[in-house]
Amino acid sequence: MPIEGLATQLRKGVIEYCVLAMLRDSPRYGGELVQMLRNQGGLLTSEGTIYPLLSRMRAEDLVDTEWREAPAGSPRRYYRLTKAGQRAVVEFQREWVRFRVTVDGIFGDRGGR
């Protein structure tokens, strides 16, 4: 697999859980999530694609939504973790740590310095 494709696949695999993790502390609206991801750099190449993702996670009952008034303009749809969403975050974190430790163990000190 070309390395560019690999990066895309990795992003696709983790973005959903990163978004869920960003909702752990408080409900957030789409624009807020986009800004947070922008600050983290590189995870979201096309910012608009977060909305299909959020919509799917809502259909899967990982998040639910509520409308809240915005200081200006139209009301915002806030996304909030459901119980299933919380479980998914915890499970991903466990898997991710195991995965990272395994890969780091194989690459050792020679990895990407």
Binding site: G30, S46, G48, P52, S55, E60, D61, G73
Partner: protein, 218 residues
């Protein structure tokens, strides 16, 4: 700084392209995504101090190519299996099973509404016996003690000394004794069968519903 009408035109062009790119998706999903991205762009625009043409194009570039957003939406829509109707015995099925023998009209309506049974099951539930226990307890006695009772009579003609000149029977009474016993036994058997039939039908329907719920969702 560009003119507001021109900026609005750029945005509505973008949203128009996004809308066509989202074609083919379920309506609710399409509207949700379009709605969210419309709001997203409006909020981002409100943060621009000096809305230059380059700023706005930059903003729309960041949101992404409409085709790419729609592609993501399509990928996300194919994946989830969660929205498929689940095959579980729910309150409708339980009520249908209880009411079909006990309160036939309501039970049969539920029987035909629930996806748990096929045409044959529904016909069996409806017709074996029609009316359930309501029919058996309210109408069967009328029939039994009314028209369908074994009917027949005997007539004896005697002379003045009391000697039997003629003895004749008609109908049921004309049959030999063993045939009368057989008919009566058959009648009692039919009655008992009618008593347990609604229960047998309910057991059969329960079996069918359980089989339905255990099959993989297609």
């Amino acid at each position: 700084m560009m003119s507001a009408p021109h900026a609005d035109q750029l945005v509505s062009d973008y949203l128009g392209r996004l809308d066509s790119a989202l074609a083919g998706l379920p309506k609710a999903r399409r509207e949700e995504i379009l709605d969210e991205i419309t709001n997203h762009i409006a909020e981002e625009r409100s943060r621009l101090h000096d809305e230059s043409d380059a700023d706005l194009r930059n903003l729309l570039d960041r949101v992404g190519d409409p085709g790419e957003v729609a592609g993501a939406a399509r990928d996300e829509t194919v994946e989830p299996q969660v929205q498929r109707p689940s095959r579980r015995i729910g309150p409708v099925e339980v009520l249908a099973l209880v009411l079909t023998p006990l309160f036939w009209p309501a039970g049969v309506i539920l029987l035909w509404l629930s996806p748990a049974w096929n045409l044959r099951d529904r016909l069996i539930g409806t017709l074996l016996p029609p009316g359930g226990y309501i029919f058996i307890f309210f109408f069967l006695p009328l029939i039994l003690f009314g028209g369908l009772q074994p009917s027949g009579s005997c007539m004896t003609v005697s002379d003045s000394q009391g000697n039997v000149i003629q003895h004749s029977c008609t109908g049921f009474e004309a049959l030999p004794g063993w045939q009368q016993d057989l008919l009566q036994a058959a009648g009692i058997g039919m009655f008992l069968l009618l008593l347990v039939l609604p229960v047998l039908t309910a057991i059969y329907l329960t079996y069918r519903a359980r089989k339905w719920s255990s099959e993989p969702v297609g």
